[in-house]
């Protein structure tokens, strides 16, 4: 008993410095950013020695989501969603494909593994500079058709202003509600299938609320913007997405390869005995068994997708709105326009987005441990 108490004191003493530093430099500054985002720091003399900061509540957030001159923030937010989505889907698919190929143990597997993993060792600035050349309008990939005697490609990979999947920002809440409805309906379905009562209740209530909002409430409530504003998927982001997928597929490949190698050989052999082909084995047995790996890959990649700043900055430049990302906008608003409060509000929103990805993971791993 005495021994364990002594141990406890020691462990607290050892941990204390890092805990204190974390409290100040991570949580303290997150708190400070949040506080700044609730002020009007930035109008007028922002860089004074003792700047005037008046508390304005959630005004900055309201401005960002509904203010007339913050349309770029809203487009950047949409871009961020698409960046995350395509980056996760792209890296998982390509990484899995490469992992399966390597799992078959081809000649020179070691060399190939290193080659595929290598891009991850480069910084975003380096890959960004290379890919900017690849996607330049009068060179790089646009020249490929000329090899076959066709005309040079005309697509502006990084500066196209075209958008597809257009929607009106006034309907954003309705769209979110419909997406949530689908998710909760799936929860309801799986609860019904597994006969779990609490899951059924929650699924039914939440999907009902979402459907009610989307179909009834949304049409009654006043619109969030006084005018129509269209946003969509910017085609210029494709170039950035390709570069990012190229850089991080090797990483997901390594994760999946470790997963495949970690599966018991008996599983493969018994599947073979039962007459399963390679396709059946990988898709019906291996992938479902690697779910924990897929989940952690999704979480890591979606965090990387929030840190695309350097890649976008070096490939397309900070001012190029069609490839914009909230992190780039945060830099512009804070360090170029001296609007510290709005910049802080954008960073808090980015922080919440990151939390959105990590909290379900934390909850799950906590439950698993119990």
């Amino acid at each position: 008993m005495v021994e364990s108490k002594k141990n406890a004191v020691y462990s607290i003493l050892v941990l204390l410095p890092s805990v204190i530093l974390l409290l100040i430099f991570v949580y303290g500054f997150i708190g400070n950013s949040f506080y700044v985002s609730l002020t009007d720091w930035g109008t007028g003399a922002a860089l004074r020695e003792n700047p005037v900061k008046n508390f304005v509540g959630l005004k900055n957030y309201r401005e960002l989501f509904t203010g007339a001159i913050n349309a770029r923030f809203r487009q950047d937010l949409i871009n961020a969603v698409f960046y995350s989505l395509f980056l996760v889907v792209g890296t998982l698919t390509v990484g899995l494909f490469l992992a399966i190929l390597l799992d078959k143990g081809p000649k020179g597997e070691h060399v190939l593994r290193t080659i595929f993993l290598f891009p991850m060792a480069l910084s975003f600035i380096v890959t960004g500079t290379i890919w900017r050349w690849v996607f330049s309008p009068k060179g790089g990939v646009n020249l490929i058709p000329t090899w076959f005697g066709m005309e040079r490609g005309k697509f502006l990979w990084l500066s196209s202003r075209e958008q597809v999947l257009l929607f009106n920002w006034q309907n954003i809440l309705q769209i979110i509600a419909l997406i949530l409805f689908v998710i909760f309906a799936l929860v309801l379905y799986s609860g019904w299938k597994n006969k779990k009562r609490t899951q059924i209740t929650w699924g039914a209530v939440l999907s009902g609320v979402m459907l009610f909002y989307a179909l009834v409430l949304h049409n009654i409530l006043p619109p969030i913007l006084p005018y129509e504003e269209s946003h969509g998927f910017s085609l210029a982001t494709i170039g950035i997405i390709i570069a990012a997928v190229w850089q991080y597929s090797g990483y997901t490949m390594a994760l999946y390869l470790a997963g495949l190698r970690g599966l018991p050989v008996a599983m493969y052999e018994s599947a073979k005995m039962d007459g399963a082909g390679d396709l059946t084995y990988y898709f019906k047995i291996a992938i479902p068994n690697m779910w924990p790996i897929t989940l952690s890959a999704i979480i890591i990649i979606s965090h990387i997708s929030l840190k695309l700043f350097a890649l976008i900055f070096s490939m397309a430049g900070a001012d190029n709105a069609s490839t914009g990302h909230p992190s780039v906008l945060m830099y512009l608003v804070t360090f170029r326009a001296n609007n510290f409060a709005i910049g802080a509000a954008i960073s808090v929103i980015l922080f919440l987005m990151a939390a959105l990805f990590i909290i379900p993971y934390l909850i799950q791993s906590y439950r698993a441990r119990r």
């Binding site: 930035g42 004074r48 020695e49 508390f55 007339a68 900070a318 190029n320 709105a321 170029r336 326009a337």
Partner: protein, 443 residues
């Protein structure tokens, strides 16, 4: 036990947030009282003793522009051998990176002894408004600069409370570049108004030539200011910036509508090009004209080895003959510098005739003084210097003279919106909104 620990940890996590919150609020209170107290402006003193020790000069003049800065530093060292100059450059065109570094240094209480800044609102709206600069009026008076710098220029780099920086050079923004031989070949003349330009542009397009080459985002803002000056004229252009002309007025909308028409005659891939590549299009004969500041003259003379006048030609951008839209790099005197004597000597060096005539021929700009020795400059610079002496001088938006950094940044966003939907009315409304938000127009 476990629950207690979790609770304690949570409380510990919340504690710094609360203290920071409270601290922040207190800060606000103090500042508010201080603001009313500091009405008088601290001025530069003319006697700090002998210059010695170290002098840190902060700028973004690396690469092509480094030789000019080094020549200026050498001249300073000749006059002040006791001082060791630390040349702190942060690369990045137009100071995009340097400005952010400077802000963190100033906020951290570690100002460089003097820093490069675009003269005008970029300095005034950020650093003068923040009360971090000294008024240089006594220096201007004692050095006799009041008479050698044009009055229009002094008005634009000062406020009613003082003069805030010493300009070391002057660049012209509203210049249209072309290759004379090519124009002869295509059988067109240099247009003197935008209406003439549209006629010429039709002719050029029929021959498969891009009428006007354009480059990345900021060059569109650069084009906008030339169009605005051409459409509005100097008086109304100035009126936009002092709040007398509304951004939603018919004339202001006309600027956007003209820009909209011009954009139809530009290269499609402009957002992916650098300004040098846009100049290359003109030099290579793919495009007829390009509107760019006169650093393009430096690029064409020095890098491309073209002869001013025969290799490349220039004219005021359409409709702006008789106006000189300027921008200038300048150095100011931050409060609380470590070595004020050396800083004062540096500013004297920057503003001196000798200093300016050493720096500018290398930089490709002209002296901001009206008494410079023109024999040291090339033909383009001589013509620019002549125009600077007798033209009406107005300030550039894209390069920080007429509007503060908040407006400049927001204007780039408005321009992006305009390039996407090409709606002049909407752009004018958005410009009015950001002008109000950034204090250019009162509500």
């Amino acid at each position: 036990m476990k629950k207690g620990l979790t609770l304690m940890l949570t409380l510990l996590l919340l504690l710094p947030m609360v203290t920071v919150w409270a601290g922040g609020q207190q800060e606000g209170g103090e500042a508010a009282t201080e603001e009313s107290a500091s009405a008088d402006v601290p001025q530069v003193k003319l006697d700090y003793g002998n210059a010695s020790g170290e002098l840190e000069i902060f700028s973004w003049w690396a690469g092509d522009e480094a030789p000019a800065l080094n020549a200026l530093i050498d001249l300073y060292n000749d006059k002040n051998p006791q001082v060791e100059v630390i040349n702190a450059t942060v690369t990045g065109g137009s100071g995009v990176n340097a400005k952010a570094v400077l802000k963190t240094r100033m906020l951290g209480g570690d100002p460089p002894d003097s820093f490069q800044v675009h003269a005008g609102q970029e300095l005034i709206g950020t650093w003068v408004a923040a009360e971090r600069m000294l008024d240089l009026t006594p220096l201007f008076e004692s050095e006799g600069w009041m008479d050698v710098f044009p009055q229009d220029l002094i008005n634009l780099i000062g406020t009613e409370n003082g003069i805030w920086s010493v300009p070391v050079n002057v660049h012209r923004s509203n210049v249209m570049w072309y290759v004379p031989d090519n124009l002869d070949k295509w059988g067109v003349d240099v247009p003197e108004s935008w209406d003439e330009f549209f006629e010429v542009a039709e002719e050029l397009e029929s021959q498969g030539v891009t009428p006007l080459s354009l480059a990345t985002n900021w060059t569109v803002n650069h084009l906008w200011e030339s169009v605005a000056l051409g459409v509005l004229g100097a008086d109304k252009y100035d009126a936009l910036w002092n709040g007398e002309l509304s951004w939603t007025s018919a004339e202001a909308v006309e600027v956007w509508a003209t820009l909209d028409k011009i954009l139809d005659y530009t290269n499609d891939d402009f957002s992916s090009l650098s300004w040098q590549q846009a100049t290359d299009l003109v030099v290579g004969g793919d495009a007829a004209f390009n509107i760019m500041g006169d650093w393009a003259a430096g690029y064409m003379s020095t890098t491309l080895n073209l002869e001013p006048g025969s290799g490349y030609g220039w004219a005021a951008s359409p409709g702006t003959e008789g106006s000189f839209m300027f921008l200038a790099d300048s150095f100011g005197f931050p409060k609380g510098v470590k070595n004020p004597a050396a800083t004062l000597a540096w500013l004297k060096n920057c503003g001196s005739k000798e200093g300016q005539d050493t720096f500018n021929p290398l930089k490709g700009s002209i002296s901001s003084r009206t008494d410079s020795d023109l024999s040291k400059y090339n033909d383009y610079s001589k013509s620019a210097a002549k125009d600077f002496a007798d033209n009406r001088i107005v300030g550039s938006l894209a390069h920080g003279v007429t509007a503060n950094e908040g407006f400049m940044n927001d204007f780039a966003t408005v321009m992006e919106m305009f390039l996407k939907n090409r709606n002049p009315e909407q752009a004018a409304n958005a410009a009015q909104a950001i002008a109000i938000q950034n204090g250019i127009v009162s509500k």
